[in-house]
């Protein structure tokens, strides 16, 4: 039986995380940045679930701790998108642009 080594999942997650990070650095549109952040969160979820599945839980610990973490990450990500888009809409209404480089009124 040729199972998948743990490191494969970790490398896949690392690659996705790095791509998401690149998106955050490179994209200028705020919604695109939000999408890139979602990619990073998903990559983290892969790691959580992979470690849960390949490790053995400590006695008295939750049998599905990794999955629970991932569920809460999904919840927080959903809330983050809701508020994030709300903020982007507000900024868009103020400056008529969804460009993160233009939200710079705090820079001196």
């Amino acid at each position: 039986m040729n199972d998948i080594p743990l490191t494969w999942f970790l490398i896949f997650a690392a690659a996705c995380f790095v791509i998401g990070l690149m998106g955050v650095l490179v994209r200028r549109n705020a919604i695109a940045v939000l999408m890139a952040i979602e990619i990073m969160l998903n990559a983290a979820n892969i790691n959580l679930v992979a470690f849960w599945r390949y490790g053995t839980p400590v006695e008295g610990d939750s049998p599905i701790s990794g999955v629970m973490f991932a569920i809460f990450v999904i919840t927080v990500a959903a809330a983050e998108v809701a508020v994030g888009i709300g903020l982007i809409l507000l900024c868009y209404r103020r400056w008529h642009a969804a460009d993160v480089d233009r939200f710079d009124s705090l820079s001196g």
Partner: protein
């Protein structure tokens, strides 16, 4: 096991994509083709289309989507609760009452602000 189920679903997914694309491809082969400029125009009741199509929509749509998102995530908590209710009993019921009351505050806020009203 679990993957076993989902391999079938994956096959169904690929099959459904093929099932959807096949008639489009057949149509590409069988159907007559007579290109003309006016045929490829956007159909807006025979008038020429004016202005930008991808207009900015009103915020109302976004508010409904937000409400949906929140209740969708709530479903993720509600379904496992319902499954485990048999083992957990009344304490779980009380917890869920609290959880749903918290969410009902959000719904009541939206209601009170009048954003549920489609104008």
């Amino acid at each position: 096991m679990i993957i076993y189920n989902y391999v079938f679903i994956g096959m169904l997914l690929l099959g459904a994509i093929g099932f959807a694309l096949a008639p489009v491809i057949v149509m590409g082969i069988l159907a007559p083709r007579k290109r003309s400029s006016s045929k490829a125009d956007t159909y807006e009741c025979g008038l020429l289309t004016t202005g930008e199509t991808w207009v900015r929509f009103r915020i109302q749509y976004y508010i409904y989507a937000i409400m949906f998102l929140v209740f969708d995530v709530e479903t993720v908590f509600l379904y496992p609760w319902a499954v485990a209710y048999e083992r957990l009993g009344l304490f779980a019921l009380a917890e869920m009452v609290v959880f749903l009351l918290i969410l009902a505050v959000g719904l009541a806020y939206a209601w009170g602000k009048g954003v549920l009203k489609w104008v």
